[in-house]
């Protein structure tokens, strides 16, 4: 059987993207894996056991609780709000639809510092004095910054559903709610899954919101695991420790991602044709 010969032009065309993929994906990962084995404050002899030893840091358990809180509140809340708003926007012909989508996008357009400023103005700085409120505050800021973009994306995917399918469902007697729950949601489920994974990863990796509150003197500098990783790297110059914690946080994102791709038809070309 003759060997399949690839043409050069497609490989040249994809080369810049491939180079960026290597530089921003593979190589940092390899460098990080090597870095972890270097001596660290938590493992003076330096070895891969740093990946486990770093988890004994006294800040890790409270930060895991914060992460769990975000996973239980921020992720479902954002998914629900993004789907509810995009389904409502798609449910009826509405004057001002474009304006509304722009308004829902506004909190996501505002830089993180502005979100903090707005939340502090409306709630008052005293709200952060009670440590129990901080997790709600961070959830609120992360929710307001993230939900709008997802409304725009999911509204776009809803608009891509074939008109004939929706019309057939209406002829079969579907009302708006049935249309949303039985036709539209199942048809965009692949993108709902995608949104869920990205939000889960964002909750595990949260950094901006607690860091901005910290810059304003409203929280500690170790509210999230990512902040702890940075404090290792930039405050104690322990890059092995910081990188180990970063890799520990990366593992669940990769596992969930691989599972999602293998269990759905995301990778199949004919799923989109």
């Amino acid at each position: 059987m003759p060997r399949h010969r690839y043409r050069v032009v497609p490989m040249v065309m994809i080369a810049p993207y491939f180079a960026l993929m290597l530089f921003n994906g593979f190589i940092p990962l390899l460098v990080a894996i090597r870095e972890v084995a270097n001596p660290s404050w938590v493992n003076l002899n330096g070895s891969y056991t740093t990946l486990f030893r770093i988890l004994k840091d006294f800040r890790v358990v409270p930060d895991l609780r914060h992460t769990l809180f975000l996973l239980l509140v921020f992720v479902p809340l954002t998914i629900f709000a993004a789907l509810a708003l995009s389904l409502l926007l798609d449910a009826t012909a509405l004057r001002g639809n474009t304006f509304m989508r722009l308004v829902f996008l506004l909190p996501g357009v505002a830089a993180g510092g502005i979100s903090v400023l707005i939340w502090m103005y409306f709630l008052g700085r005293h709200i952060a004095w009670n440590p129990g409120n901080v997790k709600w505050l961070i959830t609120g800021i992360a929710f307001s910054s993230g939900a709008g973009s997802w409304v725009v994306i999911q509204y776009g995917s809803l608009r891509s559903i074939s008109h004939e399918v929706l019309e057939a469902a209406r002829v079969d007697g579907c009302n708006r709610l049935q249309l949303a729950l039985r036709i539209k949601l199942p048809m965009i489920s692949r993108y709902v899954g995608y949104m869920s994974i990205l939000l889960t990863a964002a909750a595990i990796q949260i950094y901006n919101e607690p860091a901005l509150l910290n810059a304003d003197g409203l929280t500690s500098n170790w509210w999230s695991l990512n902040q702890v990783a940075y404090s290792y790297a930039f405050q104690t110059a322990d890059f092995a420790g910081g990188t180990a914690l970063s890799l520990d946080m990366l593992i669940p994102s990769i596992v969930i991602g691989v599972f999602f791709i293998l269990k759905t038809d995301f990778l199949k070309r004919d799923a989109y044709q």
């Binding site: 994906g25 509304m100 707005i118 995917s157 608009r159 990796q205 949260i206 950094y207 989109y272």
Partner: protein, 257 residues
């Protein structure tokens, strides 16, 4: 009876949406008021304050955003086209890695990226930040989806019969058919780069190299509102320019009927 019921539901939906719109809008009305009332004086104060460091931040933000935007958009649209239409070795593997990296936020890679950038002595250098921010797997995946559905194999074969090579297919067929795709990718890429905070804040340490979102933190309470308004204007304008494409084009053809 059913029609009355449906009309009542439609009115309820409209009312809910208008109330929510109002609630979301209130903080931004406050922000615009806070930045004023004399916007010219606020801008003048901002740009004169601390030897005009805000101008440097604005310049850094513009250089960073437009350089990274150009690289990321060009590379990801071409890559999406190649993965969808052309034949390359390890096509499935590349698509798989694109999807995996798309599902991992940049925050997860920030520390490994920092270690790499530090090793090649590009920390505190806008060039290092541009390279670290130019990989845009979400755009590649969107382009892949778009070209798979917008360029059926019949059309590609007709192009081949007309004498188009691989590059010709992209230039003469894919580009004219993908205006909506470009708008969407430019908008979302611009949004994430313009507001990017974490990567710049760990890669750039000198305040003279800071970008506007980092500057906001340094300015806190002293001109923050006017910088906020300044930062929102280009994103809103870009959204208004591309909203028709965003509405029609995102995941276009990817939701099978």
């Amino acid at each position: 009876m059913i029609r009355t019921y449906e009309r009542r539901n439609a009115n309820l939906i409209k009312l809910t949406l208008w109330i929510l719109t109002f609630l979301v809008l209130v903080p931004f009305i406050w922000l615009i008021r806070e930045a004023g009332p004399n916007y010219l004086a606020s801008f003048k104060f901002l740009f004169m304050n601390q030897n005009g460091i805000a101008i440097t931040w604005l310049k850094n933000s513009l250089v960073f955003t437009f350089s990274a935007l150009t690289i990321s958009v060009l590379t990801c649209v071409v890559a999406g086209f190649v993965l969808a239409i052309l034949d390359i070795p390890f096509r499935k593997t590349m698509l798989f890695i694109t999807l995996i990296t798309m599902l991992i936020p940049i925050t997860a890679m920030a520390m490994p990226l920092y270690v790499l950038i530090d090793k090649i002595h590009l920390t505190d250098n806008i060039f290092g930040l541009i390279i670290a921010s130019s990989y845009y797997p979400f755009g590649t995946f969107l382009s892949y989806l778009y070209f798979v559905s917008a360029l059926p194999s019949d059309l590609v074969n007709m192009g081949r019969i007309d004498g188009l090579g691989d590059w010709g297919l992209f230039w003469h067929l894919a580009i004219p058919l993908s205006k909506a795709l470009w708008s969407i990718i430019i908008f979302f890429s611009f949004l994430s780069l313009w507001n990017s905070y974490q990567l710049p804040s760990i890669l750039l340490t000198d305040p003279m190299h800071s970008t506007l979102p980092m500057g906001l933190e340094l300015l806190y309470g002293n001109g923050t509102a006017i910088v906020g308004v300044l930062m929102m204007v280009p994103v809103i304008l870009l959204y208004l320019l591309s909203q028709r494409s965003i509405e029609r084009g995102i995941f276009s053809g990817a939701v099978k009927g």
